[in-house]
């Protein structure tokens, strides 16, 4: 299987911060695979997705490797970046209202990359824009081409953003919280469109979200991220049936289930680790119910294989016995 996105040991640090923004992050997305990257805000998940397009925070020092469609983008020249952005990967952003230039017509927005990058004629570009708007389920493509962004609803604009990402005919679609700014029904519609595109076009998808249940239900594999580090990586089924990292368990416990009786919610106590705070040992130690002083704050856990999962917890092995004894969670 072809690896579309291969991030290895990626560390992004900025002077004046207590901890790196990303710390030894490794992550892969294969051809046609849907992978989720889950975490609270500030965990570094959006930063990780942006690195796939060579978008690094200004002034940051970057080490490690990010290979996209066979091209290394860390310290890449403009030519390589352009190749990746124009033909391998494209991104859908969280807030479509902020993502579409407010003063240009939808038609200009969509045909601009087709004409300037893909080199299509005006007529070809327009035809393709119409086709893409149809593909993302817009009701009246010819009219939408003449509309301005403020004339469309958030859900419609997010479809436009998806169509825009598809103008590159990418193999990898990076979706940064694509439904967070939308209402619940629209969220489901957008996820359905993404699922269909993935099947029809064989797209690889990296879904960035804070919603672990959503991630596990639509993706093949899930990475759980905390304070710039990967805490757990597992196939979706394994992650939800046997969550091994205390943080993963906390995330599953803090979201209400979509069906069935409402259990007692157990939100994770404390707040996510800020960028100004230095870490020693496990970054989750301050909020972890299983923390062992002297162990967890002294040794930094690395990802180790347990069953189908990879877990960065020093007590992973013993905790699994414990949870299985209790019948999970």
């Amino acid at each position: 299987m072809n690896t579309l996105l291969d991030i290895k040991g990626l560390t992004v640090a900025m002077a004046g911060l207590g901890r790196p923004i990303l710390d030894e992050v490794s992550l892969a997305v294969h051809d046609g695979e849907a992978v989720a990257l889950v975490g609270e805000s500030g965990s570094g998940k959006s930063v990780t997705a942006r690195t796939a397009l060579g978008l690094f925070p200004g002034g940051a020092t970057v080490s490690g490797s990010v290979v996209v469609g066979g091209t290394e983008v860390v310290a890449a020249g403009p030519g390589d970046l352009r190749r990746v952005r124009t033909s391998v990967a494209s991104m859908i952003f969280q807030d479509p209202r902020a993502g579409v230039n407010p003063v240009r017509r939808i038609g200009d927005f969509l045909t601009e990359p087709l004409r300037r990058i893909q080199g299509r004629s005006k007529a070809e570009a327009t035809a393709q824009a119409l086709e893409l708007l149809g593909a993302v389920g817009m009701p009246d493509p010819p009219r939408h081409l003449r509309q301005f962004p403020h004339e469309l609803s958030g859900g419609m604009l997010q479809r436009v953003m998806i169509a825009y990402a598809l103008t590159a005919d990418p193999r990898l679609l990076l979706c940064d919280e694509p439904t967070t700014a939308l209402d619940v029904t629209t969220q489901a519609e957008i996820m359905a469109i993404l699922g269909r595109l993935r099947r029809d076009r064989g797209l690889g998808i990296l879904l960035i979200t804070h919603d672990l249940d959503l991630a596990a239900s639509v993706c093949d594999r899930v990475y759980v991220m905390y304070a710039g580090r990967i805490m757990e990586a597992a196939p979706s089924a394994a992650l939800t049936s046997v969550p091994r990292h205390p943080y993963t368990r906390g995330l599953l416990g803090s979201a209400p289930p979509l069906t069935g009786p409402m259990p007692r919610l157990a939100p994770i106590p404390g707040a996510p680790l800020g960028l100004a705070e230095a870490v020693s040992g496990c970054p989750f130690a301050a909020r972890c119910a299983h923390v062992v002083p002297g162990l967890c704050d002294a040794t930094t856990p690395t990802l180790e294989r347990h069953g189908d999962s990879q877990v960065a917890c020093l007590r992973a092995a013993e905790l699994i016995d414990e949870t299985q004894g209790e019948g999970l969670r």
């Binding site: 352009r82 952005r85 579409v100 230039n101 003063v103 601009e112 990058i117 403020h150």
Partner: protein, 305 residues
């Protein structure tokens, strides 16, 4: 919408004309005293002069005469120059228009250009330049420019209006620069701030991440979106240029509408002053109406509102 704008424009001009006329009517000093300058006329002669110039009529009648006269293109007679106001202003208008035109070009080209440069470069050079530029009053600029580029280096003439288009333009350079330094600095500042704001927007990241070249992104998404405030401020400044010509034309000994305004005020030449003030206001109103009409083309969101 057009009809309403034109109506509002006409109303503004009407109200202004009344304010202009009445303010000079109420101003201290008597134009007759100037007209008879030094001589001591008999009461009969004085009454004759008053009658000739219409000073004996009541205020509403005089305003009405003035207003209807203007609508027929008759702005009255200059007390000072013994010619019609229209011809006095008309003969000086071309040189002032050239000065205003050249200044407009300077403001737009250098103001906007420097603003773009300042937004795209990391350095603080442009900010310093702008801060200094905005603080220089035009008469100070006039004195410095004349002594450096006119007297010391001899690159430009320091006085007069010149003859023939090329020569006139040559004469205009220093006055235009003196006139526009402050305005250029303001436009630069607004352009730079507006560009920086747009550069940080997410839609710019979106088109960048899609692989559009930096120059395309800057031109079509940053500059294009930053235009709104730039056009508004430029419009305001450019319509104010006519007033500022008074200082610069006097400083450079130029025979334009601005210097005419100064001498006319000195000599209580009310008809000329009234006409010029009204001209200034009319320019202001017209330029701002144009800006208002152009704005929806720049930002389609105001079209809906």
């Amino acid at each position: 919408m057009w009809l309403r704008r034109v109506g509002a424009m006409a109303l503004t001009l009407l109200v202004t004309s009344f304010l202009v006329f009445s303010s000079l009517y109420l101003a201290p000093g008597d134009p007759v005293a100037f007209l008879v300058k030094g001589r001591s006329p008999s009461p009969d002669q004085l009454a004759a002069i008053r009658h000739e110039y219409g000073f004996d009529k009541p205020f509403p009648v005089r305003y009405w005469d003035w207003l209807t006269g203007m609508l027929h293109g008759d702005f009255g007679q200059s007390y000072q120059l013994h010619a019609s106001v229209a011809s006095v202003i008309g003969s000086r208008l071309p040189s002032t228009l050239l000065l205003v035109g050249l200044s407009t070009v300077l403001i737009v080209v250098f103001g906007v250009g420097l603003g773009i440069f300042g937004a795209l470069r990391k350095g603080k050079g442009v900010v310093v330049l702008v801060t200094v530029g905005a603080a220089v009053p035009s008469f100070t600029a006039a004195i410095v420019l004349r002594s450096v580029f006119g007297v010391r280096l001899g690159w430009f003439p320091t006085v007069g209006t010149g003859s023939g288009f090329g020569d006139e333009l040559h004469h205009m350079v220093l006055p235009a620069v003196a006139l526009t330094i402050t305005f250029m600095a303001l436009v630069t500042r607004v352009t730079r701030a507006s560009m920086l704001e747009e550069l940080g927007r997410e839609h710019v990241e979106v088109v960048t991440s899609r692989g559009l070249s930096r120059s395309t992104v800057i031109r079509r998404h940053v500059l294009r979106n930053a235009l709104g405030p730039v056009v508004t401020v430029s419009g305001l400044l450019i319509s104010g240029l006519l007033v500022s010509t008074a200082i610069v034309e006097s400083a450079f000994g130029m025979n334009g509408v601005g210097s005419l305004l100064v001498t006319s005020v000195d000599h209580m030449d009310f008809p000329v002053v009234q006409a010029i003030v009204l001209l200034v206001v009319a320019t202001f109103v017209v330029v701002n109406t144009v800006v208002d009409l152009v704005y929806p083309l720049i930002d389609p969101r105001v079209r809906a509102a």
